[in-house]
Amino acid sequence: TQTVSQSDAHVTVFEGDSVELRCNYSYGGSIYLSWYIQHHGRGLQFLLKYYSGNPVVQGVNGFEAEFSKSDSSFHLRKASVHWSDSAVYFCAAANTGGADRLTFGKGTQLIIQP
């Protein structure tokens, strides 16, 4: 069974702190990984993706993620969070190398304290 696991339902940090949101996957073969952000009551917005090449990928608004085949992980990081980063973050994966068959994790709510 192909799964995407986000072990933290909630992460709380202070504004200006660094943060890492964890994502682990269980897939065989080539994998396509991505992160999306959902602000309260809104649709999802794409942050970044990985399919091949450099395992560290840069996204919008200072986010980056690192692919690790040995750890089956694709963790999302940001060096210094802003209050506007408060949202739910979804990790998603697919085998096809594209977005057609994305499986989403359960999401991690990032809470930024002032």
């Binding site: 649709g43 057609d100 989403f104 994790g105």
Partner: protein, 109 residues
């Protein structure tokens, strides 16, 4: 620039009543289109996808149906709503990555 518009923004419906949700894509010809459902506080589940007019594939059976009457339009519907249909419905288009609409909040009472 491409835009994706979903309607209505929110619906409150009675169990057993019909439902029709819509999605329109502008600025992109022949997009791949998707319907996702999100339970309150939950993850997203792909319901349907379509790669061309008149052709829709069902991914999950939830007593819902979808149609693509025009290249830029994707409709989600049912004749009889269930309580379990409550949630947030998101339309998306893609080459890669997915671009989502703002969603429709559905409450079934």
């Amino acid at each position: 620039a491409q835009t994706i518009h979903q309607w209505p923004v929110a619906e409150i419906k009675a169990v057993g009543s019909p439902l029709s949700l819509g999605c329109t894509i502008k600025g992109k010809s022949s997009p791949n289109l998707y319907w996702y459902w999100q339970a309150t506080g939950g993850t997203l589940q792909q319901l349907f996808y379509s790669i061309t007019v008149g052709q829709v594939e069902s991914v999950v059976q939830l007593n819902l149906s979808a149609s693509r009457p025009k290249d830029d339009q994707f409709i989600l519907s049912t004749e009889k709503l269930l309580l379990s249909h409550s949630g947030f419905y998101l339309c998306a288009w893609s080459i890669d990555p997915l671009y989502f609409g703002a969603g429709t909040r559905l409450s079934v009472l």
